[in-house]
Structure formats: structure tokens, C-alpha cells
Symmetry: C2
Subunit: 437 residues, 2 copies
């Protein structure tokens, strides 16, 4: 009998006993399963984080890349440096200057999207059991990397002004008291994914001060910083602490993700390690992609393009907020993001976003349940809604469907009572938003 079971098991995966221990943490994310569902055209996906690149000038891109092939084809199609194309790294310093960063191209390492930058930084710093402090909630893709390197995530609370300094200090103190090693704070200061909030200037000062005092390196992940809907970009954390901040940037949201060009700006010795890690991982990031991005930046008014993107996303943000206000039942709360792609929606007590998801998809609307953004099981009463990709009309239709599903869910609860014990959520723990309906 046992032998039969074993045989069946072996047929399923004969390698099951041979994988590295880290594979236990490599599981399909909730977002991943959703991508296939949400790709059906009848579903309004408020789940994905795909930028809307329909506004890109294909003629400009095509002619820049055509010239690239004709004039520098054998360079663009050849191996390059593990650190990345020098001309592109210069242009990257221009991009970062918009956020107050004064950097040298020598300290930039080009990566395969900023996802790979998170991977390489974690590879360089984290032994199994090391602790990474993350906001609560935090980016699902980064949590996956930390898990894959067997690092432990400790969350620190956010509110409408971003990471709460007292919560950060408390987390650091608690981890140190437990004799654990903190390798870095992972933070998304601007237009947070998934929480939508932005860290205030005063908070930035406090967070840097705490991290300096406690000897905690800061990993600043900033894919959305130039996508603010009003005023100037916020000053980057890196701008005020070059020695203790690793800054990650990306062209995925300001140009296009399909080239997979991101970067890390790191203190010199760390940059050295990142280049070695990059060489081990890929030999070099794609030369053609890098030169294509570089040619686009040189040929096009890329800042004007970002302005167009900002206006397009603001219109979508407005459509979503209007729809939430008009259509959602009482008891829901959300924030009004000043940039980026995401609204964080907290549901009435007792409604479980993950349990509700199959019914939502049946009603042809998709979102990401809040639990995906926590390493510790929190977030069940919240969800991330993205407004980046669908049209304003589709966004409103999606929220209408979501409201219908929520009404039914709440009606059921009123009729039959709570189906499951309510999750205990410490004050505000998964509620970075402020707007309450």
C-alpha cells in the first residue's frame, strides 16, 4: 500500500526528494493563477499591473530601433558588459536626477527589469534565516524573492503617509531582541504597490535616520516615482543617503516592460558584488534591449511621454475613485493614490477577499486578494485594485460588478451570519488608506 502510494508520488514528480530546500518557498503566487483567468476578454481585470503602453509612438520606436540595427547591429546583437551599456547608464543618471539623485554611471548596474535587481540584491545579502523588513502590505514579487532565498519577512505597518517610523523601530527592536539578523528594509516610497500610498518627506527623514542609527541598509524600490499626478516627483531616499541606500529603478512603467530594463544604483562595494552576481546570473543583461531603450531615450521626448502616461493614468485613477464612491456598499474604505497604478480597498468586517474571488471572476471581474501582499497571512479583508490598464469605462464596469458581488456577499452574511471566524486585524494593520465610505 505504502509502496503504491510512493509509486504514484514518484510518477507525479520523481525529483521531489532532490530539489533544493529553497524550492519549498517557490510557489505559484495568487497573482499568477489570476493572470490566466483575467486574460479572458469578458473579464474586467483590476488584477494585473501591466502598464498601458498603447500611447507609445510606435513609429518613433520602430525608427529608433531600425537605425540601431542598421548602424550598430553587430554591437547591439553581441555580448556586452555585465554591468550594462555605458551610454544607457549615463542616461539612467539623468532619469534619477529628476528625483534629486546625484549619481555616477559607474555605480549603476543594469538588470533584467527591477525584479532581477531585487533578486540580485537578495542574493548578495541574504543567508537563509536572515530578516528583511517590508511594509505591510508589500510587493508580491519581492516577497516571492525573499521567500526563494529563505529570508524571513517581518512587516511594519503603513498608514496614509507611508511606512510608520514607530512601527519600523518596533520591528527592528523586536527582531534584534530575538537575536536575528536584519539585512535590509525593503520599501516602495512612491505610489506603493499595492497600498497606493506615498511616504511623506518627514517620514523619509525619519526612516533614513532610524535605518542609519540601527545599521539597517535601505532597499528603495521605485518603479512609479515619475508617475505622480500632481506636482514634482518626491525626492528619493537615495538622494539624502547615498551610503546606506540601494535604489532600484525601471523603464517598465515610464517606457515599456517588454525590454526588461531596470537598474540598481548601489554604494560602490555593493555595486561590485551586484555585477558579479549579474555575470553569474546572465553573463550580461540583453545588449539589444539596453541599446533599444537608449535609442528611444535619445530619439524621443521621453519626459513628454511620461507626462502623457501620467495624464492617462490620472484619468483612470479618477474613474476608479468615482466608481468606488458611487457604487461600493457602505463599510468599504480605500485610499486615493496620488500616482502609480493601485488602490488598496478594505472590505467590511468579515468579508474575505480571497474566498470571494471565484464568485467575482464568475461575475467577470478580477482583483488580487490582500493576502498575496503579506508574508504572514494578513490581508484577507483587503484587495488590490489596479486602474492602469483598462479604459475608464471598463474600470467603472469592473467596479460595478465588484459592488454586485460584495452586496451579495454581505447579504449572505446578514442572512446566515459569519461563515468563518473574523480575522483579528490590529488597528490599521492592513489599512493604509484613509478614505472611508
Amino acid at each position: 500500500m505504502t509502496s503504491d502510494v510512493q509509486r504514484t508520488h514518484a510518477r507525479l514528480d520523481s525529483f521531489v526528494d532532490r530539489y533544493a530546500a529553497r524550492t519549498a518557498g517557490m510557489t505559484a503566487s495568487e497573482i499568477r493563477a489570476l493572470f490566466s483567468v483575467a486574460s479572458r476578454p469578458e473579464v474586467v481585470s483590476l488584477a494585473g499591473g501591466m502598464p498601458n503602453i498603447s500611447g507609445l509612438p510606435l513609429d518613433v520606436v520602430g525608427s529608433a530601433i531600425g537605425d540601431l540595427v542598421a548602424e550598430q547591429g553587430t554591437v547591439a546583437m553581441q555580448y556586452g558588459s555585465g554591468q550594462g551599456v555605458p551610454a544607457l547608464r549615463e542616461q539612467i543618471t539623468d532619469v534619477m536626477r529628476l528625483e534629486g539623485i546625484d549619481a555616477h554611471a559607474d555605480d549603476v548596474v543594469v538588470t533584467v527589469g527591477s525584479q532581477q535587481a531585487v533578486d540580485l540584491v537578495t542574493r548578495v545579502f541574504c543567508d537563509p534565516g536572515d530578516v528583511v523588513i517590508c511594509e505591510a502590505p508589500s510587493y508580491v514579487g519581492a516577497l516571492g524573492v525573499f521567500r526563494a532565498y529563505q529570508a524571513e519577512v517581518v512587516h511594519a505597518e503603513m498608514d496614509a503617509d507611508g511606512l510608520v517610523p514607530e512601527a519600523l523601530q518596533q520591528a527592528i527592536t523586536a527582531v534584534k531582541a530575538a537575536g536575528r539578523t536584519i539585512k535590509f528594509l525593503y520599501t516602495i516610497p512612491n505610489f506603493h504597490n499595492p497600498a497606493g500610498v506615498t511616504m511623506s518627506a518627514e517620514r523619509r527623514r525619519q526612516v533614513l535616520e532610524i535605518c542609519q542609527r540601527e545599521g539597517v541598509l535601505v532597499l528603495e524600490d521605485n518603479p512609479y516615482g515619475l508617475l505622480g499626478f500632481s506636482g514634482e516627483p518626491m525626492r528619493a531616499l537615495r538622494a539624502d543617503d547615498p551610503d546606506n541606500v540601494i535604489y532600484l529603478g525601471s523603464f517598465s512603467k515610464t517606457f515599456a516592460p517588454g525590454f526588461r530594463v531596470g537598474w540598481a544604483l548601489a554604494p560602490h562595494p555593493v555595486r561590485e558584488k551586484l555585477v558579479l552576481a549579474q555575470e553569474s546570473s546572465t553573463l550580461c543583461p540583453p545588449q539589444f534591449s539596453q541599446m533599444a531603450v537608449s535609442a528611444y531615450l535619445a530619439a524621443h521626448d521621453w519626459q513628454g511621454q511620461i507626462k502623457q502616461f501620467r495624464e492617462m493614468y490620472r484619468e483612470r485613477r479618477d474613474a476608479m475613485i468615482d466608481a468606488l464612491e458611487d457604487l461600493l456598499p457602505a463599510g468599504c474604505s480605500w485610499n486615493v493614490p496620488e500616482g502609480g497604478f493601485y488602490v488598496w480597498l478594505t472590505l467590511p468586517p468579515g468579508v474575505d477577499a480571497k474566498a470571494m474571488l471565484p464568485r467575482a471572476v464568475t461575475a467577470r471581474v478580477a482583483y488580487v486578494p490582500g493576502t498575496a501582499f503579506y508574508a504572514d497571512g494578513f490581508g484577507s479583508s483587503a484587495m488590490r485594485l489596479s486602474f492602469c490598464y483598462p479604459t475608464p469605462e471598463r474600470i467603472r464596469e469592473g467596479v460595478r460588478r465588484l459592488a454586485g458581488v460584495l452586496e451579495t456577499e454581505m447579504e449572505l452574511r446578514r442572512t446566515f451570519g459569519a461563515q468563518a471566524p473574523e480575522r483579528g486585524l490590529p488597528g490599521g494593520y492592513d489599512r493604509p488608506g484613509t478614505h472611508v465610505r
Copy 2:
């Protein structure tokens, strides 16, 4: 005094105590330092492994990519699947069919060059202390990956017919007797990098048989398989053992490396893990690169192009072998590769290729010392010469310069005696070649 030393150290790298243990194995390779030296135009580099892509039809590539941007730009510049573009994966199965592989596109995972495939496979399988069996010598980039994952490399001898089955069996038995866990055999069966040899058909059968019996997974790295100078491509190991072989392929040598498109073909459960590892590493491989390669394959007679590459490389191989025969001093031996990029040269007893390198570079010729290709310090009396990139005339000039340096080196040894104790090399251990001068 101690405190001063510490302060200096801290100034050099204030993070030195914070890196992960694995960074101890992440060191700059001998090849890396060479790339900067060898890039000076006056140096004939027989060191690098850059393919010669000057024969690519830039007009065809440019027009295929131009059409791609115009017709599918917003798809090509968007995020894609972590597993890779389905149409490209279908085309990859066509490429592999040339080596007898009957595979389904579902079992292909696209990677950022096959370097990333080595990285992801190692990530999925290797815990620190696990053993990977490699040929002696083996590819420097793979050895770097194994080191970065804290795996231990055990070498098994090659000869002119490739990996020696008895040596493989001996290595497996010894590692198991020591209570260590073998995770896989890493092998480059065709036109080996750096050894230049090809595993014979009979050896392939024996190696597969041993690995099956011993429960050792095979990682078949095959970037050069279609670049044979005579006859049909050899049948891949994977073609005869789909359940116990992970096959790695690449477009870097058959098309162009700048797109960084490689792949892994893996048994179904392993493929699942590789996709998760890819998502964690990069979210998805570059969509634009993949669609560019796919468009090239569809628009061009890619098999005819490979035939042109083969002829070009054969001419260079001939130039190198002729030059070695005409110019090298007695006591050197080398193999005559039937494909690929590399000749493995063994020097007369007592001549140390690494120690000689600065003098060679002064004489304006570069190579990679044999020690780069061993995890265990062997290889000092050998070097890898690559004939892929320079013109036949430059190759001959490079060998002429190398011969001059060698003559001087040997003359010094004759005059002053051995400068260093000779390395004890067990019979043939770093001598896969057959041709002795």
C-alpha cells in the same frame, strides 16, 4: 593600530560583514579581467568566446524587427509569460529536432541566455554542500554559478571522446561513499567549452546508463551542437532519455547573443519549478528579445545562416590548427575540434599558462589559462584558445606571438631551471586532446 586597520577596512567596504555567505564564492573570473585587456585593438584575443556575427544579414534582421514593432509593438513591448513566448517555444522544438529531440513546447522554458538556465537549474536543485559533477575541464561560467550556490564541483576526466565513463562512475562512487549528495552531472557533449572535444555516440549511451543507474540527473548544455564542421549534428543526450536529462540550448551562437535568448527543456515537474524560478528572477524573460528572435527565425533561412557560420568557423579552426602545427615549439599538444569555438592547448611540462599570461599580453596575444576551467586548481599547464572571433590572418599572428612567448619561456627554463615546482597531473587529467607536437 587594530582600530586604524578596521577603519580602513570599513572605508573600503562597510558592508563586508553583511553579505551572504554565498558571496565568498562570487569572485571575478580570470576571463573577466581578460576581457578588458583583450579589448585593446593591438591585442590578438584568443581569449573571448564572442561569436563572430559579422555575417548576419542586418537588412533581414532590421526589417523583421521593424515589422515586429509596427505590427505587434504593444505586445512585444509588454510583459509576457514567465515561461516565454509560445510561438518561440514552438520554433525552439523545431531547432531541437535537428538533434533528434522530440519535445513539446510546454516543456520549454525560455531563459536570459543559457547562462540563466544554468543559474535557474542550480537554484532549483542545489543546497549548499551538494555536489555537481563536471567534466575536467568545464565551462567557467557554469563553475561560477555552482560556486555562487555553494555547491561543490567534482571533476571527472575527459579524453578525445569526451567524458570517460569509468571516471564518471569513479567520481559518483567516491562522492556517495563520502556521504555527499550528487545533484546532477553537468556536461557539454558537443565541441566542448573549453576542451573542444565531442562525446562519442557510444560514450553517450554509457554516460546515460550510468546516470540512470546511479540516480544522477544529467544537465546537458549544448550551445554549439549545430556548429559542427562535418556531417550531421550528433544526437542529443536528451533525445534518448527525456526523463532524466535537462537540455539547455541557446541562440547566442546560432543567431546572436545580444538578445540573450536561451532555453531549458526539462521533465514536466522540473519545468514547473524552473518557471517559478524564472518568475522570481525576472517576472518574465524579455518579450521583445523573444519576439525578435522568433521573427528572425520566421523571416530568414536560419539553417542556411548556421551553415554559413559553420563554414566561417571551420576556416578559422583550420587557420588555428595550421598555425599551431607550423609555429608552436615541440612539447605542446592540442586537439583538433570538429566544431564549436575552442582548442585546448597543453604546454610543455613546467610551463605555467597563468604565470605566463602577463608576458603574453605584453606580446599582444591573450588566452584563458586552463585553471579558470577547474574548480580544484588543476589546469595550470593548459590554456583555452578560441578561434571564433578573429580573422584567419589575425589568428595566425596571435599564434605566432604566443609561440614567441612560449619559446622565451622554455628558453628561460632551460637556462635557469624550473622556477616553480611542477604540478602533478594525473595521466591525461587536463589533456583532452590527442594531437601532440
